[in-house]
């Protein structure tokens, strides 16, 4: 049997779920774009005679390339497993009619490969553009070594292909493994809240361990030298973010409790529905909270550390944008998916008498809770790191102007609202009775 013998199934599944395809496609294009640009810079810098500028540029290109590869695998795995989780029901049905777990895995792998092949040329083209912008920016700062010219060529293309292939297959594997474990009897589970399972105590314990670890790391960095402290900031931040990721369901619940009086008081029926929904689906929401916290924490920490340097360096700016881009992509994709899986719920609301505005209001109110949880957790993590360490590295948190805080909060909220409302227009065009009867979106 050839690799492509299940393409019929894979292609049909892409057609049936354009949104899941778009999410994976966007993640793959983004990865290919950044890899192409980073490798182009690294290769171009490697080709000129050694000098101080050349070393900086070459190191930077290599460092970013590695970082991108790592982030790509993480992000694509995340996006794909969500796309696959979305069709649990269909996988269960396939299993029920006799498909083996390996057949489902192969279907997902084929789908991933086809999507990667489509994403490659788009990402490569955008990457060439990005490399040019990056290169011009550095040239403007006088950071480009003499005689260096930008070359985007085969090395970039191969690197991008390699990253897409490996990360899509790895991501597909993780995703498919989950899907293939679906028990055929899961087809019948209808009235359960998705993602409403209670988070286990092991998860809570692990979160506390990471929290303690992060605090210990902070104390250790505070005791060490200023340079060490500066280099340890990302590590400590990461420890906090892992703790946040693990504690996601509880953070979601806490944010719900905080926002509940306001939403109940002024949000009417939509506010009540949002509160009930967020409380019941806290585990599902944590998938969106984590990347939002990630992008917020890194952005705030970076902004604070930039207040020390008079002129922000290109590398810092680019690196922050890179983190923010990947994390924002995951967050947006997760939020779109979370909205999409609720067609039946929204349709039911409409048959009961909700007008379209009320459905939108529910999503907006839930978005407020999600943004509060994600941005709030991210800001807290950044402060937990930068308040003790910022003073030491010469960049106290108080140095960050108020508008920067406001901008961070605003961007977080806009990201959440845009992504969660994006699929609504299409979903509200489905006639309500059809939406209730339909099994999946």
């Amino acid at each position: 049997m050839s690799l492509f013998s299940t393409t019929g199934l894979a292609a049909a599944s892409v057609k049936a779920r354009p949104s899941a395809f778009v999410g994976t496609f966007a993640a793959l294009v983004f990865s290919a774009t950044v890899v192409t640009a980073c490798v182009a810079i690294a290769v171009s810098a490697g080709g000129v005679p050694a000098s101080a500028d050349q070393a900086v540029m070459s190191d930077m290109g290599v460092a970013f390339s590695l970082l991108t590869v790592y982030l790509s695998i993480f992000v694509i795995g995340q996006v794909m497993s969500l796309a696959v989780a979305q069709r649990r029901r269909e996988s269960a049905l396939l299993r029920a009619v006799g498909a083996g777990p390996w057949q489902i895995r192969r279907m997902v792998a084929t789908e991933a490969l086809c999507t990667a092949l489509l994403a490659l040329p788009v990402g490569y083209g955008l990457g060439a553009l990005l490399a040019q912008v990056w290169f011009d920016g550095m040239a403007g700062q006088g950071m480009v070594p003499d005689g260096m010219a930008l070359r985007v060529g085969l090395p970039s293309l191969f690197a991008a292909f390699g990253v897409l292939f490996v990360s899509s297959q790895l991501g597909g594997l993780i995703a498919a493994w989950r899907a293939s474990r679906t028990r055929p009897s899961a087809v019948l589970a209808g009235s359960q809240v998705q993602g409403g399972e209670r988070p286990g105590w092991i998860r809570g314990l692990a979160s506390l361990v990471f929290l303690a670890g992060a605090a210990a790391l902070t104390a250790a960095a505070e005791a060490g030298s200023a340079e060490d402290a500066a280099s340890e900031v990302p590590l400590v931040l990461l420890a906090y973010l892992v703790a946040i990721g693990l504690a996601g369901p509880w953070i979601g619940r806490l944010a719900t409790v905080v926002a509940a009086p306001l939403l109940r008081g002024f949000g009417g029926a939509a506010g009540e529905l949002a509160v009930a929904g967020c409380r019941a689906r806290s585990r599902r929401l944590s998938a969106a909270i984590t990347p939002i916290a990630l992008v917020t924490a890194f952005a705030v920490a970076k902004f604070v550390s930039l207040t020390g340097t008079g002129d922000p360096e290109w590398m810092d700016v680019f690196g922050t944008l890179l983190y923010a881009g990947f994390a924002g992509l995951v967050a947006a994709n997760t939020l779109v998916m979370l909205t999409l899986e609720r067609l039946r719920e929204f349709s039911l609301l409409r048959t009961v008498g909700a007008d379209k505005r009320q459905v939108v209001a529910v999503v907006v109110a839930e978005g407020a809770i999600t943004a509060l949880a994600g941005v709030g957790a991210g800001v807290l993590a950044a402060c937990a790191v930068m308040v003790p360490l910022g003073g030491k590295t010469g960049t106290p948190v108080s140095g960050l102007p108020g508008w920067a805080w406001a901008a961070t909060l605003f961007c977080g909220a806009v990201l959440v609202w845009t992504a969660s409302c994006a699929p609504l227009a299409r979903m509200l065009r489905v006639r309500p009775i059809e939406g209730v009867v339909r099994r999946s979106s």
Partner: protein, 229 residues
């Protein structure tokens, strides 16, 4: 007998040209208030389209639909939403309830969406009427299929609607539970004067209906009224 629902030469065509599908083909039908009507017919006979058009969820290509004397087919989206909220109740085969809300909150939902105050007493009374005393705080996941249908019926009745549409309400239930749910629909007609229209395949439903409409090819093929005993 008052007319609850009247369809006059209703046509609904999907698509155009040679591929057009005539889901309803000049359907004339009349359903009476305070009675249980069953709409039957094979798949593709136009049952679903009938339901969509009658409930104001879809617009007929031509013809008129009147619900309690008001012309539904001429209403705008906003009026239709209000109509659904105040005058119509729905019960589906499955997925009737929001899984995140309790039974009581589900029952109160239509009133809350209408901006009315929370009225737990009213909800509990309604739940008691459908035989669910003491289950007000249960979530749908904790209720059996039959109990979920009972909550759905309570929600459909709480606004005292002009008409309740039930789309295969017994389709996902075993025989005994289905009989219970059917009994409840029957009772809401005879004891409380509700008007219920059940779209179904189930001959058991038809056997207990006051009036049975059989559709075929988008037309009314046969109409039988039960002779009062």
């Amino acid at each position: 007998m008052d007319t609850a629902l009247e369809l006059d030469h209703v046509t609904r065509t999907y698509g155009r040209g040679p591929h057009a599908v005539h889901a309803l083909h000049g359907l004339n039908a009349r359903l009476y208030a305070h009675s249980l009507s069953a709409v039957m017919g094979p798949s593709g006979s136009g049952k679903s389209t009938f339901l969509q058009c009658a409930a104001g969820l879809d617009r007929p290509t031509s013809g008129t639909v009147r619900l309690a004397g008001r012309e539904v087919s001429a209403m705008r989206e906003r009026e239709l939403t209000r109509l659904r909220r105040e005058r119509i109740g729905f019960v589906f085969q499955s997925f009737n309830l929001l899984p995140t809300l309790t039974a009581q909150e589900n029952v109160l939902l239509p009133l809350r969406l209408d901006g009315k105050r929370r009225d737990p007493v009213r909800a509990r009374r309604m739940l008691a009427r459908v035989g669910l005393e003491g289950r007000a705080d249960a979530r749908p996941g904790e209720l059996s299929g039959g109990q979920q249908q009972r909550v759905a019926i309570a929600r459909a009745l709480i606004t005292e609607p002009d008409i309740v549409f039930a789309d295969e309400p017994t389709g996902a239930l075993d025989k005994d539970t289905a009989a219970d749910v059917l009994g409840l629909l029957r009772e809401s007609v005879s004891a409380y004067g509700a008007t219920v229209v059940v779209v179904t395949h189930d001959p058991a439903v038809a056997a207990r209906a006051d009036r049975v409409l059989r559709l075929a090819d988008g037309r009314l093929a046969e109409e039988t009224a039960r002779v009062p005993a």
